[in-house]
Symmetry: C2
Subunit: 200 residues, 2 copies
């Protein structure tokens, strides 16, 4: 049985590896691409390469940025003694949208999860310790998800950094348990920030 030409099935395969794109919608996009103006394929290809080349992780906070250090870490109007700790780089922009936070950020890059082979040394914890030592950090607000790994990671960090005189807190519940920061509305995020409690 003849099937679609190889360049189309190859494009379908490449697209279906992206998050949220199934084989059916990948094929639909591939067929759209080969039957559209050349510019359509070129624009998407260029945007992919451009984004991947221009965006790196901030050397200080680990957030997504076009320059080193990132806009947050290089902004003198922000409170550099206050750090909001998030799991993923995207989470920074969820917090920013709420407009209630004027400190800086630190992206952990995951949660401690021995079952999944994620140990403390796999996360950006050493970088956080370094910042606490060199930047005069007074307070860390932990905005990790409220699940088992998030709780364990928060507990671990509390035990690690509280003894060094850093005030540690977690954002208040208000964000649905097991749900990610990106699903919370701005008001819920504001409440969660305001209602934070000291960890130890």
């Amino acid at each position: 049985v003849p099937s679609l030409p190889e360049p189309i099935t190859a494009l379908t395969a490449a697209l279906s590896k992206l998050p949220g794109i199934g084989p059916r919608s990948a094929e639909r996009i591939a067929l759209h691409i080969v039957q559209s103006e050349k510019l359509v394929a070129e624009n998407v290809a260029r945007a992919l390469i451009h984004a991947r080349e221009k965006i790196s992780l901030c050397d200080i906070c680990g957030g997504l940025t076009e320059r080193q250090p990132c806009d947050f870490c290089s902004d003198p109007r922000r409170d550099h003694s206050l750090i909001c700790l998030v799991e993923r780089a995207v989470d920074v922009f969820s917090i920013e949208k709420s407009g209630v936070f004027r400190g800086t950020y630190h992206v952990l890059g995951g949660k401690i999860s021995p079952l999944n082979g994620v140990e403390p040394e796999d996360l950006r914890i050493a970088e956080l310790e370094r910042r606490c030592a060199s930047e005069g950090v007074k307070e860390i607000i932990i905005a990790l998800p409220s699940d088992v790994e998030g709780d364990a990671t928060s507990f671990y960090l509390g035990k690690l950094l509280s003894p060094r005189g850093v005030k540690m807190s977690r954002i208040a519940h208000g964000i649905p348990v097991g749900s990610g920061l990106e699903f919370a509305d701005e008001l819920t995020l504001s409440r969660a920030m305001e209602g934070r409690r000291e960890l130890l």
Copy 2:
């Protein structure tokens, strides 16, 4: 309010122009791309350009192909006196999957629809007339959708080509009205092929 860096929002915008990708899933893909290995972005970009460059429309039938003429039009084992007429290039592969058709294809590129500004001269009708004259075409099976425009287009083609001695038929109902060929299962497509009726 700081938002995501420009290369990410640009990629999100480019992706959300593709069929079936909303702004939310476009952003999710963009964030995945900038945080994945460089190879991920490069593979998708390369597949996009490759597919768009390698795939063209067959000079004879208008189907998607890597070479001129396409595999169907250049296959001596297929019956070149029998043409299956479809609306879109994708439809060829829907018919092929059923395995019941051994003739060649002709892609019309749309349906006559004066309300949408699609006149007969906007479709590949002249090419079909030329094939009837030069290729010894004895029969055309029309596999256009069974909607108003599909009916009007079939009627127009019947009036145009029947007087020239070409046997014209339409695939039988069996495909749900208003639905496209790609949603039909192989059995439904086989039944529709077998139950075709002469047009005029």
